[in-house]
């Protein structure tokens, strides 16, 4: 539906003061004719429909008033104070989001292309424009909530671990799990809806603890003087069983949502369970390998630093 209304706050002169003004009706006819050109449009109705082309619209507003007064239900196009009118459009678009988006954009282009009298506002509403706005909001919310959650969690992890690399290390399985979850949602063709659009932030929040437990336990063993292999062989079974138990119960809880009658809630349950599974897998299988690689990398970097320092000292002695 397109709403055409007069701007009541407009202070310009020689502007329409009644929506039945010839300039407004002519604009309606032009807009209607433009919209009718769209192949998907099956029906358009407005106060301009009875004139068929702009040339048929009388120049005298009184004549237009008389025409509408004579037509049965002619007044139904206008509000009580004749400051607004509407145009109804029917189109066969199916339920494809893309088609609806394209159609709404085309209608907006048609509105832009038609010359509008001063102080006349033309706005669209109805199911497709609402869905379009909703889609933009969902996209924004998804990226924004996930981004904010990721930044805050990473900052807290760096603060807790008092090391940037260790913070990133705990954070890595989260990012891996989240990437896998979103990727699998895409491959499985599961749509994200109002209920599931916040899963990114939820998964990040729920999965953080697994990585912390594992890294902390491994560090404990290393502080006891154990080498990498011994520390990992001790840490992973001791804390891993707890992490698996905790993750599995969380997953089962979310999977129970599959029994809900609302598909929206079912999708929420399955995506959250998938997210927890991915983070669990990344923590148990991938994270230990990354911990070892990070340690080896730091050890090598320290060795290189020592070498450079020794070379520097030798060079100074020789001089």
């Amino acid at each position: 539906m397109i709403l055409i209304k007069l701007d009541k706050n407009c202070e310009l002169e020689n502007v329409p003061k009644d929506i039945r003004d010839p300039k407004v009706i002519r604009m309606l006819v032009k807009l209607e004719n433009e919209i009718k050109k769209e192949p998907s449009v099956s029906f358009v109705q407005s106060a301009g429909s009875i004139f068929a082309c702009p040339e048929n619209v009388p120049d005298n507003i009184e004549l237009i008033k008389q025409i509408f007064a004579k037509i049965p239900n002619g007044e139904m196009f206008f509000n009580k104070d004749y400051s607004a009118t509407f145009m109804t459009i029917s189109a066969d678009l199916g339920k494809s989001e893309e088609k609806i988006n394209q159609f709404v954009s085309k209608i907006k282009e048609d509105i832009k292309s038609v010359e509008k009298p001063a102080c006349v506002d033309v706005t669209t509403t109805g199911n497709p424009p609402i869905r379009r706005v909703l889609m933009k909001m969902l996209e924004h919310d998804m990226v924004f909530t996930m981004g904010i959650a990721a930044i805050i969690i990473l900052f807290l992890l760096i603060l807790i671990k008092r090391s940037i690399t260790r913070g990133i290390l705990v954070f890595t399985p989260l990012i891996l799990g989240l990437t896998w979850t979103l990727g699998l949602i895409g491959w499985l063709n599961t749509p994200l809806s109002i209920a599931t659009v916040g899963i990114g932030a939820m998964i990040l929040g729920l999965g953080t603890e697994y990585g912390i437990f594992l890294v902390e336990r491994y560090e404990e063993e290393r502080e006891k003087g154990k080498n990498q292999k011994e520390a990992l062989v001790t840490a992973l079974p001791s804390v891993g069983s707890g992490i698996i138990g905790s993750g599995t119960t969380t997953m089962v809880g979310f999977l129970a949502l599959l029994l809900a009658s609302m598909p929206m809630i079912q999708h929420l349950g399955e995506t959250l369970a998938l997210g927890i599974f991915c983070i669990l897998f990344a923590t148990i299988v991938i994270s230990p390998a990354l911990i070892l690689l990070e340690e080896r990398f730091i050890e090598k970097a320290e060795e290189l630093e020592l070498k450079f320092l020794r070379r520097g000292l030798k060079h100074e002695k020789n001089n």
Binding site: S90, K95, N127, L138, L182, G240, V285, P288, A289, L292
Partner: protein, 68 residues
């Protein structure tokens, strides 16, 4: 848990291989992100076997849907 001990030994031995496989796996699965689509049609998120929804779907299918 013996299985986790064996896993830890495997991770120690093949940590770089695990890292490489993870990168490749993440790239392959991550490509699916492009296929993510949003569902803004609330009617599709309602139980499709309910009488009122069935009737609504029938009406929408058999006639042109007034969409704007």
């Amino acid at each position: 848990m013996e299985i986790l001990k064996n896993l830890a030994r495997f991770q120690y031995k093949y940590s770089f291989l695990i890292f490489t496989i993870t990168v490749l796996l993440t790239i392959v699965i991550g490509l699916g992100i492009q296929n993510i689509h949003l569902q803004t049609d609330i009617s599709k998120e309602l139980p499709q076997d309910l009488g009122v929804i069935k009737l609504q779907n029938k009406i929408s299918d058999s006639s042109e849907e007034r969409i704007l």
